[in-house]
Symmetry: D2
Subunit: 337 residues, 4 copies
């Protein structure tokens, strides 16, 4: 931690800070420059981080040096983590494709989509039973009934299931049906929900909040790991910027950045990230080339009849075509699908 | 709703859309231009809004004309709403100041701050018993014990209490102690929590998410009103931008914009909005001049010992001084404090 | 300057950096922590700033401590600067209002607006003869003819003139007619143009770029001062964010932030900042309450006939009414208009 | 153009607008809904676009339907444009790599880098003789001397030259040495400079402004084409967002979006886009997979001695290695390098 003092800081202000640092069991190193004094602090930075140092008299700014997260960091665990989803490994050489409708609508349609994406090479079925919708007047999902359909399709196809949980009260129920508990972008800062899934035995897929920095994203993952659940998959799904040609700005830079900072697997959701079905193929290939460990893609046989997000769903035949292209790109970067 | 077709849209695509619109009980108005065809739809726009029109063949884009919210809109209720908080009216001529520590730390200190801000003119005491913290290793709040302290300080000072609720499971408990249920910025899109407080009898103070547009902010308020609770206060607290000289960018433009679009009262939180105590006085005066109905200000007698957010807390004497200045600005714009 | 090394930095990497720092005549202070080594550098930070330290082997990040600007900083000149515009002082107790049309359209109309805003209390006339337009097909301004009209209206009304210069080749010409040379937001990073106006004797009004941090804004002003022109006025005019209810997000936080960091006067342009005439009154009052030294307001007697930006122009009678309200707010914060 | 009226618009307001539209030679189509009236306008939208319709009484908002650009649009020219740079074709099957130092520093070093990148497969040499620098105290480039070095290296290596021009006064000079005139991100809205290069016979590489929407980017290209120069290459180089783990957010979504909207070739600059050399390989591969027609990569044999941007330069051996990987990805998506 570096504490930069104001040019007009008084001696008693400086002494007061040095005193405080020592009382916390840390070692202050004072450098008096021509323009201002700087205090470097050696020792366990976490002890200091919780102190509101910028509120001390004479302090201009405080610059943390160490990262605020631990368990998720590459330093903590240098080798890549592989998350085992009921036999499907995420984070290894094989890039895992998760596909399916935005919302679970009915059993028949879900089964058809499941069979179709499986035959194209997907290993995980995605589909929402609880839907976070901006409008209280929009379709809110089938709830537990939808979860049952998902589990039934798993039985019939062998696909693993990823589905969202939105409420601390529902974690126990969703756990019974899902293979991966998804935390949506809007709940990335719902800390109580993070704690609950951190206590679960099931793998968690954590989506990045639309205005979350990568550091904040990793801090939210730290909530999950620090509660005991190390089976955490990170998902880039687009951030909010000024650009309006896409619904969000899918931030593929996040893939190599997270790989550098963390050992956790990273997947990409180009459907929500771009909001336009015709951009999904290009951005899926780019995500794989950038090093993603998996993709989440919305597929619907009749987008115009989808209960939600039809405009960002691929037709099954387009998805099948894309899978063939993705295989070539995966091989070009030393991976497989 | 305006449906703009691609220049290469085929006749059967256009007929298909017209057909769909008619089946929904709406009236399509087709305009064939030189470059492309446009279909205007007359009637209840909500019926159409839930259709994924951009997924239809031949469609280039869809432009909604009506607003997606109703109950919160000025059109629905032209006159200003006044929220009655156990006798204190928010949204009328008097600008209501809510002040107090970021976190409730202990009874003694809370009572002292309460007495102090009351004597300076505050009518509501703010203080968090449940704290959303980015790090799992930071102080998470005193929980129900903190709520009890708040209620006790209310008894001794007459100040009304605003405090945050973060979990659907806690709404019933927080309701017993608080006069206003606060929904934090990180939970503005926690729809299940919005529904729960929408079912409550207590007024709600809804903070704008750091990356929420004003339209999305109003949609979240619509969740509360549509569940039956019309006592909703909106709070601008800073949005995330590229600027890093302030912690967030307090968006005062939101005040006159919301006043134009909605009948709900609007308050401003310059403490979280700027993240720096020395910017609070200027931005508080600006908020009042812009038309805010109230302010939420963090006050702490010893910011360097605060459990959270010390760097954005005013000393009681600085707060007292600010209150005097605010009175003058309030009068200059025809209000009072 | 603080140089933070990677946890895996080797001894020879560290020695290499220490060596380099010493060769530059600076003093390295090495702190070896448990997790990583940190090198603080004492001395003239500018010498080091131009070195690409992050490219050195073993370096994780580099954190500058001092500010990259000098002449514009409060440390360089603690008291407020007052810019004298042909007798009108900007930066003193009096808040200076600059008003007029977006574009100069013809002499008659300009004179009428000039007379009108003067009678309402404006001291400076604004109006563009060179117009930066997003579309090559839009009206691009009257050029030198427009400048002549401005000078003629100055003669008849006594108003000082502020007008934009967009091209290094035009600085000499615009200087002959204008009292203040305006650098538009789109040219805040046009460094050659900054150098040219830095060599001028005329005061400069520098607008903040729509995506410029306040630090970058001050660096652009440093270009002007370092070329010899200390008569520089800074203008906040809205930044680009995700919010689309306003054309830009007028960032009033910039006013107190700049006042803290710099001695230069700060004015606010609520017309461009919001893009909506009906938001101008609220945001003008807020700007004055926040501490602005002046305002730039677009006024047009027939906004629907304006050649540009009619939607953000006030009618003269609305402007007159606003001036009366602004006087009250100015007095409430110890200023005058 | 769709004109949406306020719910309280009066009949005379509506009549006034209809009148205006007719006078402009256009056809208004009026739809009276339950809540509000909407006027669709058929005909040449450009005539109307320059009218400040939102300033008309009774108007709530105006929604343009057609795109504001023409010559750059896919509709204007459905097939891909190929820009011929002195024999090197940009926009065809071959992906063109442009590499070299950020700044031209001296002849010897430039020649060595040139030989090196050529042997790795680059076809164009990049290097700045005029450097836009945020600080007036940073190295500003060698000017014409640097241009001479570039031309000399071209003679010795056969590499084509791309270099930046920053000032309208320098276009004639830079044209004599360069094969491609580069307009930097900071000048994307320097309209006079755009006009000058639009009058040139040399191809132009236009970089996207850091806060420019894709639509605005295309409008700036329209300035170049409408002045007669159709040899325009668009370059995505990162936009400004809240994320600070990268220097900018390289927006690869722009590649497929621009391909959909325009016929012009698109190249990507991962060096400036990310600001970190260790992210360049991943993002270069992703750019190629997304469909880019070329890449601009900074290469320097001793990044720590570079005069600028050393932290985002690749070592020649790393660049060589990347070229081999890029070839595989290019083939996987049906292209070649």
């Amino acid at each position: 931690m570096i504490i930069v003092l104001r040019p007009d800081a008084k001696k008693k202000d400086i002494d007061h800070i040095i005193d405080k640092v020592k009382k916390l069991g840390l070692t202050p190193m004072v450098s008096k420059g021509v323009e201002r004094t700087i205090i470097g602090v050696i020792g366990e930075e976490d002890v200091l981080r919780v102190q509101p140092l910028e509120a001390y008299p004479g302090v201009e700014k405080v610059m943390p040096i160490l990262k605020p997260y631990k368990l998720v960091s590459r330093e903590f665990k240098p080798e890549d983590s592989i998350v085992n989803v009921d036999g499907v490994k995420i984070g290894g050489k094989r890039i895992v494709i998760m596909a399916g409708p935005c919302s679970v609508e009915n059993f028949e349609s879900l089964l058809n989509i499941g069979k179709s994406v499986k035959s194209s090479g997907a290993l995980v079925l995605r589909g929402g039973a609880f839907k976070p919708r901006s409008s209280p007047y929009s379709f809110q999902g089938l709830g537990e009934e939808g979860l049952k359909y998902l589990k039934d399709v798993k039985k019939k196809t062998g696909l693993k299931i990823v589905t969202e949980v939105m409420d601390t009260r529902d974690v126990g129920m969703v756990e019974k049906y899902a293979d991966i508990l998804q935390i949506g972008a809007r709940n990335m800062h719902n800390f109580n929900l993070l704690k609950e899934v951190g206590l679960s035995k099931k793998p968690v897929l954590l989506k990045r909040g639309i205005s979350a920095t990568i550091k904040e994203f990793l801090m939210s993952a730290e909530y999950i790991l620090s509660n005991g659940n190390f089976n955490c998959i990170l998902c880039e799904r687009g951030i909010r910027t000024f650009e309006d040609a896409t619904r969000f700005t899918l931030d593929l830079n996040a893939v190599p950045v997270i790989k550098k900072m963390s050992h956790l697997p990273v997947v990409v959701d180009p459907s929500h990230g771009t909001g336009k079905w015709d951009l999904i193929p290009a951005m899926s290939k780019a995500a794989v080339a950038a090093g993603a460990d998996g993709l989440l893609i919305e597929v619907h046989p009749s987008p115009e009849d989808a209960y939600s997000d039809g405009e960002q769903s691929l037709l099954p035949e387009k998805f099948d075509c894309l899978m063939k292209e993705l295989k070539l790109v995966a091989e070009a970067v030393g991976r497989e699908i």
